[in-house]
């Protein structure tokens, strides 16, 4: 038998009961709306029509008729490629902009102009440049998701206390040692915050790019089911996107807090 103290109960309520009732309320609101809007499937109807996708998540019945697990997998692989490409460019770029104020002043306007461009605007350019949908999607993801990493890495370098620079000078560290032993470790928490934000953006971009190119994935599935007028599947895709995005963010937060614990 587990007996709860008052504090234990309060923690249980705070951690579990409140979030669960929040979700329940949202579902209730959804059901109510679906009563008055006939086009919107109710939660129950969504579940009924989506069962086959959820219960057999890895079944492949056709190019655009696969388990939700497979669709999510395709999307995640695409995101991983684009995201990795993005941070491979963004991390050194951000560090450089942080170290050199000349470079920062030079490229800051360019960055500020490129940053707010929507993935929907980059994708056609990617298609023109690469002529294939996969590299075009990677390009759009990379170019959209890199900015938080650039900005955070640069801010991280600028936030290194004078104290650490002085240690490096006093110990007569070489430029290389200074970089690997001081700049990188001091900036790492900032860089990881950048990675987390970048991954969030990459996940936003993937849906848009799949919808535009019609490639198999969560976004592609969503668009196809819209065209086939199966609205319950739209909701399934939307919820899947949300849950995966949330999970990715949580994972990155865990990695981040490990780094900060140092």
């Amino acid at each position: 038998m587990v007996s709860f103290s008052a504090r234990g109960w309060r923690a249980l309520v705070g951690r579990l009961l409140l979030p669960v009732s929040g979700v329940a309320l949202a579902a209730l609101l959804w059901s109510m709306t679906s009563l008055s809007v006939p086009e919107l499937p109710s939660p129950w109807k969504t579940w009924q029509e989506s069962r086959v996708y959820l219960l057999h998540p890895l079944e492949k019945r056709g190019e655009m008729d696969q388990g939700i697990g497979l669709f999510a997998y395709y999307s995640l692989v695409r995101v991983a490629k684009g995201f990795l490409l993005g941070i491979l460019i963004a991390t050194p770029l951000g560090l450089m902009l942080g170290i050199s104020s000349t470079l920062h002043r030079m490229f800051d306007p360019v960055m500020q102009i490129l940053r707010p461009i929507s993935p929907l605007a980059w994708l056609p350019l990617g298609l023109v440049l690469f002529r294939k949908t996969e590299p075009a999607a990677m390009f759009a993801i990379a170019v959209c998701s890199m900015w938080p990493t650039v900005v955070n890495a640069a801010a991280g370098v600028r936030a290194i206390p004078q104290e650490y620079w002085n240690v490096g000078k006093v110990l007569r560290l070489s430029r290389f040692t200074m970089f690997t032993k001081i700049v990188i470790p001091a900036t790492l928490p900032y860089i990881f915050t950048g990675y987390r934000l970048s991954l969030g953006i990459a996940w936003l971009v993937i849906v848009a790019s799949e919808m535009l190119t019609g490639t198999p994935g969560v976004g592609g599935f969503l668009w196809q089911e819209y065209n086939s007028l199966i609205y319950a599947h739209i909701l399934l895709a939307i919820l899947t996107i949300g849950v995966i995005g949330f999970a990715l963010d949580r994972l990155m937060r865990m990695a981040e807090s490990r780094l900060r614990a140092i």
Binding site: E163, N166, V170, I262
Partner: protein
């Protein structure tokens, strides 16, 4: 010519819409192997002076010569201990020390660098905490790591910027005596400058005490020699006649500035006071 020659150093910082003159025409010579304490009030410019000698700051006027050569950048063979320890938090104690050793002796094997680092951590009594990160060490232990790091590079010059300022009184007393022993035990002459606001610390460690006037436009007073044999202990200093005389001299000198610093120019104030035979009241000799 002395080993370290500081001549005519002036330094000002630009503040909002004004210029803050911190140092004005500071001159000081230090012989090889000498331990000099610069004592003064908080914020009078002591650290600025040390940072200039350490090559971390550039003076507006004047020059620093070490071994006859004009100082450019960080002096070779110098170690600096800062008040805030300045350890790298992502490295363990031994990694912090080894970073300095590796940089000072790049030709050594990794094992030898490691052994040197370990030995110096053992000397400061941290033999069983070498793998701890700074965040897992107390303030006193952190400063011990910093001192081990400074000595592990086998420096000819030690620059200490209020090294014990952030420590509690008991820890401070221990570390002061340990530092005194380390300096005396070295197999080569170590020339040292310590910045402090504690008369006792200066007495315990130094051959010569140089008082500094209060800023702005701080400058150095005439040095007071401390002739007692080293290493000294706090107990010994409490009753020693020489120590009492030196203590009185410094306290008097510093107190003279406190009383007249706002109204009259400093040099005059001191002169007037001496003429009138006022015995200065100790109000802020130790902060």
């Amino acid at each position: 010519m002395a080993f370290i020659e500081v001549s005519g150093i002036s330094k000002a910082f630009a503040a909002k819409e004004s210029v803050r003159h911190v140092l004005d025409d500071v001159t000081l010579s230090i012989e090889q192997g000498e331990f000099v304490a610069i004592i003064g009030f908080m914020g009078c410019g002591k650290s600025t002076l040390l940072n200039i000698v350490a090559g971390l700051l550039e003076a507006d006027a004047g020059e620093v010569r070490i071994g006859g050569e004009r100082l450019r950048g960080i002096p070779k063979g110098a170690s600096i201990v800062f008040q805030n320890y300045s350890l790298l938090p992502w490295f363990s104690a031994i990694e912090n020390v080894r970073l300095a050793v590796a940089s000072a002796f790049p030709a050594w094997s990794r094992a030898r660098q490691e052994a040197q680092s370990r030995r110096h951590l053992e000397i400061v009594g941290l033999g069983n905490a070498i793998h701890r990160r700074p965040s897992q060490l107390s303030g006193g232990m952190r400063q011990r790591v910093a001192i081990a790091r400074a000595f592990a590079t086998e420096p000819d010059i030690m620059l200490l910027d209020e090294p014990f300022g952030a420590l509690d009184a008991l820890t401070r007393a221990n570390l002061q005596e340990e530092l005194a022993q380390l300096c005396s035990a070295a197999d080569r002459p170590v020339t040292a400058i310590i910045i402090t606001n504690s008369v006792e610390e200066a007495l315990l460690l130094s051959d010569r005490i140089v008082p500094m006037t209060r800023g702005p436009r701080a400058t150095l007073g005439s040095p007071i020699a401390v002739a007692m044999p080293k290493p000294r202990t706090a107990v010994q200093l409490a009753h020693d006649q020489d120590a009492q005389r030196v203590r009185a001299d410094i306290v008097e000198w510093l107190a003279a500035y406190v009383q007249h610093s706002r109204k009259t120019p400093r040099r005059q104030a001191l002169a007037t006071q001496r003429e009138q035979g006022i015995s200065p009241v100790l109000s802020r000799s130790e902060t």
